[in-house]
Symmetry: C2
Subunit: 109 residues, 2 copies
Amino acid sequence: MTRGKVSLAYIAKDSARKATFTKRKGGLIKKTKELISLCEIEACGILFSPYDLEPEVWRSQLKAQQVIQKFRNLSLVEQSKRMVNQESFTKENVEKIKEKVTKKRNVNQ
Amino acid sequence: MTRGKVSLAYIAKDSARKATFTKRKGGLIKKTKELISLCEIEACGILFSPYDLEPEVWRSQLKAQQVIQKFRNLSLVEQSKRMVNQESFTKENVEKIKEKVTKKRNVNQ
DNA sequence: AACTCTATGGTTAGAAG
DNA sequence: ACTTCTAACCATAGAGT
């Protein structure tokens, strides 16, 4: 079980890579939240991955949230400029993505 | 050693809180970097803490870096608007902070 | 205060369902 | 492909310096 050390190299096998991504993403979010409550700081993480349509963002408090919102609005425009070959970030998707983000945010807290 | 479970409440004692912050910040950065190399994703973390003058940012690759740069430029302006009672984020500090960020970035990779 | 050490609790890779 | 389990590796609180 587990590995005989940490290799830290790219995991070539698709299913294993996705499994590890999902688990470790959860771990990172948990650790971030822990640090936030232990030290009453503001923190967030941002993940761009092929496994999520939108960048994954988690954060602590209202101010960070507002800053991230601005970042996100900007980044989506930036991405739509840069990712000319990638359907999922064309301008017509921006509004849909924003909507999802708002919903998710309401659920998270 | 360690505690008899994880409490996850705010650490009231200043020195202990700072020590934990420093250790856990390091842990988060390490975990983020691991996830980045294991899965070849782009990720970053952003920390606003009383222990650092500027928000702490770590990231993976060029594109994330560019996006973060935009985010940072925005956030500094936002912060200077909001933190009217806090000297360290007045407008005259913005350029100085940007300079430090650029230096740090060059060192990091 | 900042670094090292290390027992303990926490995270997670791989297996099993 | 997701969930749960758990051995084994890892992070870290508190102690020592």
